[in-house]
């Protein structure tokens, strides 16, 4: 047993999601990403004297949606608070957040891994404003501040320390990511920082009740980095404990190039935020009518959709998971089912193995030239024996190229599968004539040659012969005499 196995890993995650509103959380300035610096800013975002915040109703609705999706209680009355600290990208000197009474509390998210299912409690979801962005100039004593992001609405989803491995943490994040994107509350773009994660990581001996001292890993922007950062941090902490040293409670950053976490130098009082109720904003009151309106408009969530796909279309769990990972892919699949409902399994295979391969870079599932009815027709042509699987792939490639219908391509390229026994028999006879050695070898017991014969026939027919008929005829002729 390795020394690392003596310890249990304990992880809690804090996820920040930028909400997909047009305007900021407390002002009417736009939230456009990637604009020229300091152009999406108004008096409120700048923290100018006398400018007052007014809460964005849409941001509240998005937060409620996220709360309902995670089974949270939505507080009828919640409160904003000031979190005080100095940083150049925070013009007011405080961030408006929620502290004692967040909008959503006491939810959970169940994460399915191969070998276990883990219910992770969601402690709270609170609303807050994003800060601006500072960039540090290499080798110069200055930083440049862009306040476009200041005031972009965020929800922070805080889990209890219920996760027990980096794999569980990643599974939780992926499910959460999928949910907020399904809900339409966040675009989920991790590179642009729309979905960011902080991980609180500690270790303790198995069976120990109290938690170990934790380190907070900040702002990790990919699923892979989160896994790597947690794994590194766990080993670092165990190594320290085994060496008789103490873990220091601190914030650490992850360097993906070196694969290590390192301490973020910060002064001890930096965590003294002196929260107090935000006097510039009234209490946020959500009455039951509003809550019910939001509830009624909730979309089907990934877990439910997966279960339905398995049930209704007889798909395997893995296929259902791949299709439901993104709502547009699931919608595409169901639109194709509408076109041809007789073989969902094969249709699912085509979406997963062929179509999704075409979806990368600028090409999305909504812009790929092969539309759902067209893919449905292709699968129908396979099912009815017009096309073999191999021919269908050629047709599919041509469809991606040209955006044409499957039937048009089949006709144009003469790709119809040959199922005529007379024509296939003729090819077989020719092959037998040219390869008497293989024929007698087969008959003397080397039956594995059947594959070679099938290959020859397919080659002769340029892939068009119906493989099932080829197989049947070959066996009859080789074994019959």
């Amino acid at each position: 047993m390795s020394v690392y196995d003596k310890y249990e890993v304990v992880i809690g995650l804090e996820v920040h999601c930028q909400l997909l509103t047009d305007s900021k959380i407390f002002s009417s300035a736009p939230t456009t990403f990637g604009a020229a610096p300091n152009t999406q800013v108004c008096e409120v975002d700048l923290g100018l004297p006398g400018a007052l915040p007014v809460l964005n109703k849409q941001a509240v609705e998005f937060a409620i949606r996220a709360g309902l999706a995670l089974g949270c209680e939505i507080r009828p009355t919640s409160q904003f608070a000031r979190k005080n600290y100095f940083y150049p990208d925070l013009p007011k000197g405080y961030q408006i957040s929620q502290h004692v009474h967040p909008i959503c509390e006491h939810g959970s998210l169940t994460v399915e891994l191969e070998s276990l299912s883990r219910r992770v409690r969601v402690m709270r979801i609170h609303m807050e404003e994003d800060a601006g962005k500072s960039s540090h100039l290499e080798g110069k004593p200055v930083s440049l501040v862009d306040l476009n992001r200041a005031g972009v609405p965020l929800i922070e989803i805080v889990s209890e320390p219920d996760l027990r491995s980096s794999d569980e943490a990643v599974a939780y994040l992926k499910e959460l990511h999928s949910i907020v994107v399904y809900l339409g509350v966040c675009d989920g773009n991790m590179e642009e920082g729309s979905f960011r994660c902080d991980a609180n990581v500690s270790v303790r001996l198995h069976g120990q009740a109290e938690l170990g001292t934790r380190a907070e890993l900040k702002n990790i922007n990919s699923f892979k980095f989160i896994k790597d950062a947690i794994n590194y941090e766990v080993r670092r902490q165990i190594d320290l404990i085994e060496a008789g040293q103490k873990i220091v409670q601190e914030t650490r950053l992850y360097n993906p190039n070196k694969g290590v976490t390192f301490s973020m130098r910060s002064k001890e009082e930096s965590h003294d935020y002196r929260y107090f109720p935000e006097p510039d904003l009234p209490l946020l009151v959500i009455d039951s009518a509003w809550l019910e309106r939001v509830r009624a408009a909730m979309p089907e969530l990934p877990a439910k959709k997966r279960a339905r796909f398995v049930e209704a279309y007889d798909l395997g769990a893995h296929d259902a998971e791949v299709l439901c990972a993104s709502a547009p892919v699931a919608d595409y699949f169901e639109a194709a089912i509408e076109g041809y409902a007789k073989n969902p399994k094969v249709l699912a295979n085509w979406v997963i193995n062929e179509l999704l391969r075409e979806v990368s870079g600028d090409q999305t599932i909504d812009t790929v030239p092969v539309r759902p009815p067209q893919l449905a027709r292709l699968v129908e042509l396979i099912d009815t024996g017009v096309l073999s699987g191999k021919l269908a792939k050629q047709v599919f490639e041509a469809m991606v190229e040209s955006g044409q219908e499957a039937d048009a391509i089949v006709e144009e390229k003469g790709l119809v599968q040959v199922s005529d026994e007379g024509a296939i028999t003729q090819i077989i006879d020719e092959i037998f004539e040219q390869n008497p050695g293989q024929v007698s070898a087969f008959r003397e017991g080397k039956t594995t040659l059947i594959g070679w014969f099938v290959g020859q026939v397919m080659k002769q027919s340029r892939g068009k012969a119906n493989p099932q008929i080829v197989n049947d005829l070959l066996r009859a002729k080789l074994e019959g005499q």
Binding site: S23, N38, V41, L46, Q58
Partner: protein, 96 residues
Amino acid sequence: MEISREQVLHIARLARLRLGEDEVAGFQKDLNSILGYVDKLRELDTTGVEPTTHAVPIDGVLREDVADQRLSPDAILGNAPQKQEGYFRVPKVVED
């Protein structure tokens, strides 16, 4: 509750204030007198009373999500002591 000299210095540091020696003593006295007043209020029994966060009881003040307000870049950077290529330029903030 008594505010110590160390607490005054701590609060000053958090507020980025540099206090002279006489000011520290002065603030310690002032803060203690304010907290003494709060202590007086604590003599009242507030069992079952909701904490007041706002003097004016209003709620339901929300905006529609319309992005129709922003300042011109000149106005935005107008009060900046230093600027560069559309950015606010500040002394380097080191985090790494």
